[in-house]
């Protein structure tokens, strides 16, 4: 019972961290918030390790922390250093920040509603973390849909990936360590490739917006936010 409470509290903390991620507009703030979210995630991983008494999960927690909370943010900050600030700051998202906040709460409600049907039995970890991981997946997708700037879409991808990680962990209580390390390396490679791409695109076109901004006819030109 006490585990259950702690787990629900942790999922609450993760959701708050995700909300904080959603309201950010500027890339370096994104990275900062992503760091916090990943720290919460690695604590959650550690707790799962404690409950299942599995040392491999502890290791996964440490790798999560060191890779996603330290290395990935460093790389991303490093590559995007020289990119013009205008291409790192989300000024006119497709889905406004306020709307995406409200929609993400609806998504959370939805994922709790959806997972209610699944019979998970006595599995405390799965019952409390599965809905959260699904809502992380959905929110990550929402962020990727709603943002105009390519850089910020990477962070959406990272939220989605965090959700995926929690999803597998909560359902399987740790797949084989080799596979997990493989996934981690995969992420790292993905980040490196995408950052190289960003780097190159940034230099070549000096514009990494995924759609030409001037095609949009903005009706209310008084002040954008």
């Amino acid at each position: 019972m006490i585990y259950n409470n702690i787990l629900i509290f942790l999922s609450g903390t993760l959701l708050i961290a995700t909300l904080v991620l959603v309201i950010k507009r500027e890339f370096s703030e994104w990275i900062q918030a992503y760091k916090y979210q990943t720290i919460v995630l690695s604590i959650m991983t550690g707790v799962i390790g404690y409950i299942t008494n599995n040392w491999e999960i502890y290791l996964a927690a440490i790798i999560t922390f060191s890779l996603k909370a330290v290395i990935v943010p460093k790389i991303l900050i490093k590559v995007t250093e020289k990119i013009n600030y205008d291409f790192k700051n989300e000024t006119t998202p497709y889905i406004s920040i306020r709307l995406s906040l409200v929609v993400s709460t609806i998504l959370v409600a939805l994922s709790y509603f959806l997972t209610q049907q699944i019979q998970l039995g006595e599995d405390v970890i799965a019952t409390s973390f599965l809905p959260v991981s699904i809502s992380l997946l959905l929110i990550g997708l929402l962020v990727m849909i709603g943002r105009r700037i390519a850089l910020n879409q990477i962070v959406g991808l990272l939220i989605l990936e965090n959700g995926l990680f929690l999803f597998t962990l909560s359902l399987t209580h740790g797949i084989s360590l080799i596979i997990e390390i493989g996934i981690f390396i995969d992420i790292l490679v993905g980040i490196v490739i995408s950052s190289i791409l960003i780097h190159r695109i940034g230099y070549t076109f000096d514009n990494i917006d995924d759609i030409h901004q001037n095609r949009e006819s903005i009706e209310y030109t008084e002040e954008d936010d």
Binding site: S96, Y220, E223
Partner: protein
């Protein structure tokens, strides 16, 4: 004994006779254009009406009346039960104050209009509402409903010189007739099930109707009455019709006419559908309540969002009516939802909240419309951008208007607070709902409700602040005088009721529980009301809200502070000087914040809803230099998403259909005969083939 009293003073007949007198006098005494002969019978009639309805509510017994001898329909019975009496009381109070107010207000029209016509329609309008509420069969209900709609239509287009008022009237007529058709369909469906037109038979057969029929009846009635009530998206007529009418009529329409729709819905749901009667399975009706809550939440948010950016006082008030109807719908919906989960006390509590808000809205909205009328009476404009500084010339009007504003904003010591408090407690009780999805949705609806409250405060700060405070924006206001005493008296009555209902909620609560026969837990005391957060019995936590005591503390703190400040600070002088304004100096009235700029931040935050577009026109001194501008004109216009996106396509498709049917209208007799011929052949074939 009651019946004896009833025989001695035939109150109901007196009420009807006085209103008819009012209507006839206004036609007969065309020479006396002063307005007195029209409104004095109305005043007397409303006093009778108040006495009658209070009597019914206090006695708790319903009254039967028969106005005409049995006729061919055998339906001319009238019944005043508790629910009807509650609505009659509202009509009585509002028509009393409005007709006293009208004694003065009619002078606005006396010089260049036939006020006799106005008096006739005014009295008939109120009378039709009274008879509508007390009618006990489909026939008279529909007749008086139509009479109410028609008379109010004529009152809306009373200022018919103005083209836009005529347009408003037409929109109103179309929408209200559509609504009437649906109501008629719903009532006739009920009568086809029971086999009689009388409401009595509906009550008897309510339990035997199948759920399918009940759902259809509900949908028809919901849309039909909803049109009259002005719920979103059927609200389009309301913001046109209410401002077009003379202000006293707007007060009547907004305060009581749209409430008759709520009356109809309550009758259909609680009386004729057997919800909560214990016989039918209530759980089937949970979606009714859900629909009510959803539509109510949408209406309240949409209404208040339009209201806050509005520049015209009366239009802003009209939109605010939509919002308040939304709040009442939320309350009714919560009541139905609770009832469908057999939470009887909570259901009664939510019903109480809704009805208290209905009562409050009738009171303060009539006050506010009368206040807006007082402004128009003196300044001949309802545009806030041309007002300002009225508080100096019209101190009493502004005081009464302030009472109305404080009430509608839901601030403590005024009646709006009580109903909003009750609504919030009903929302808090929603955690007893066993269905998680519905409970969470109600939680989300509570956010919409609270958002509404927040924006209402902003709206009325804007309305009061821009029109009554600060520097006058037009010169006429410097010489403005207070309105006549009769108008002040009319406003004063309702302002007083606002304060009474706000300070002693017990009065209103007792009245509503008596009228609606609500089962609330019995632990109420005189000055405090102890609501139920959890189910009555188990852990009945008390949260006594004793507003008079809070007010006493408030005043004593005020006095103590006054004393303390003079002891510590000593006597200091007060100097009257120019506005400081960070020392920039020289302020004129055009440098103040305007109504539209005041609400601009809210417009910006919700710009996806308003879809504002900005047009900047600058006139240059010389075409070669674009920096030297002679003048710049900026115009912000908002799209009305309901009119443009919903009604626009419907109307245009109707016109397209007309265009197509035009082809048949060639004017050749032969073609018309051909049409008739083809139809006859088809009919004959159909008759032959059908079994």
């Amino acid at each position: 004994m009651i019946s004896m009293f009833e025989h001695i003073i035939p109150l109901f007949e007196l009420v009807v006779v006085s209103y008819i007198c009012g209507a006839l006098f206004s036609l007969l005494f065309r020479k006396f254009g002063s307005g007195k002969p029209f409104f004095i019978p109305t005043i007397i009639g409303s006093i009778f009406l108040i006495v009658l309805s209070l009597k019914v509510i206090i006695d708790g017994s319903s009254l039967h009346f028969e106005l005409a001898p049995d006729n061919v329909f055998s339906v001319n019975h009238f019944l005043i039960d508790g629910i009807a009496a509650f609505f009659l009381l509202l009509i009585g109070i509002v028509s009393l104050s409005v007709s006293i107010y009208s004694l003065g207000y009619i002078k606005e029209y006396i010089e260049d209009k036939h006020v006799t016509v106005f008096g006739f329609f005014f009295n008939t309008f109120i009378l039709s509402m009274i008879l509508l509420v007390s009618s006990n069969d489909v026939f008279s209900f529909i007749v008086f409903w139509e009479l109410m709609s028609l008379t109010s239509f004529f009152l809306v287009i009373y200022n018919h010189e103005n083209e836009s008022n005529l347009k408003a009237g037409i929109i109103y007529l179309i929408m209200t007739n559509l609504g009437t058709a649906l109501i008629l369909a719903s009532l006739l469906l009920l009568s086809s099930q029971s086999g009689s037109l009388s409401f009595e038979s509906f009550r008897l057969s309510s339990d035997s109707n199948s759920a399918y029929v009940k759902n259809i009846v509900f949908i028809l009635a919901f849309i039909g009455f909803g049109t009259k009530a002005g719920i979103v998206p059927l609200h389009v007529w309301l913001p046109y019709a209410h401002p077009s009418a003379p202000s006293n009529v707007s007060a009547l329409m907004s305060a009581i006419m749209i409430k008759t729709a709520i009356y109809g819905l309550i009758r259909i749901i609680y009386d004729f559908s057997g919800v909560g009667s214990g016989v039918t399975d209530n759980h089937e009706f949970v979606w009714w309540g859900f629909l009510f809550v959803t539509i109510g939440a949408i209406s309240s948010v949409v209404g208040v969002l339009y209201s806050v950016v509005e520049k015209d006082i009366k239009r802003a008030l009209a939109y605010s009516s939509i919002e308040n109807i939304g709040i009442i719908f939320i309350g009714l919906g919560l009541s139905i939802v609770f009832l469908s989960f057999d939470l009887i006390y909570l259901s009664a509590f939510a019903m109480l909240a809704a009805m208290y808000h209905l009562l409050n809205h009738a009171i303060f909205k009539s006050l506010l419309f009368m206040g807006a009328g007082a402004i128009i009476f003196r300044t001949h404009t309802a545009n806030m951008e041309k007002l300002g500084g009225l508080v100096k010339g019209m101190p009493w009007t502004s005081l009464f208007f302030l009472v109305g504003v404080l009430s509608i904003s839901g601030l403590p010591f005024f009646n709006g607070f009580v109903s909003e408090y009750l609504m919030m407690l009903s929302f808090l009780s929603s955690y007893h709902i066993p269905d998680i999805l519905i409970a969470i949705s109600v939680g989300f609806a509570s956010a919409a409700f609270a958002l509404t409250l927040g924006i209402v405060l902003a709206t009325f700060v804007k309305i009061f602040g821009i029109s009554f405070l600060s520097k006058p924006r037009t010169d006429i206001i410097y010489r403005i005088k207070e309105v006549p005493h009769t108008m002040l008296a009319g406003m004063g009555i309702v302002a007083l009721i606002c304060i009474i209902l706000g300070l002693i909620p017990f009065i209103g609560i007792t009245m509503i529980t008596h009228a609606f026969n609500l089962q609330l837990p019995p632990n109420q005391t005189l000055f405090s009301f102890e609501p139920i957060l959890s189910e009555f019995g188990a852990s009945n936590n008390l949260s006594g809200l004793s507003l008079p005591i809070v007010l006493m503390i408030f005043v004593s703190i005020l006095v103590a502070t006054l004393g303390f400040l003079y002891v510590v600070g000593g006597r200091t002088k007060q100097r009257i000087s120019e506005t400081w304004g960070c020392g920039f100096g020289y302020f004129n009235e055009r440098m103040q914040y305007t109504a539209s700029s005041l609400s601009q931040p809210i417009l910006h935050v919700f710009r996806n809803f308003y879809r504002p577009s900005l047009a900047i026109q600058s006139i240059l001194y010389h075409s070669s230099n674009s920096y030297m501008k002679e003048s710049v004109k900026i115009q912000i216009s908002n799209k009305n998403i309901f009119e443009d996106l919903m009604y626009g396509p419907i109307i245009s498709s109707v016109f397209k259909t007309y265009e197509r049917t035009k082809k048949f209208q060639t004017g050749k007799i032969n073609l018309y005969l051909l049409n008739v011929f083809v139809i006859i052949i088809l009919l004959l074939v159909y008759v032959r083939l059908s079994p």
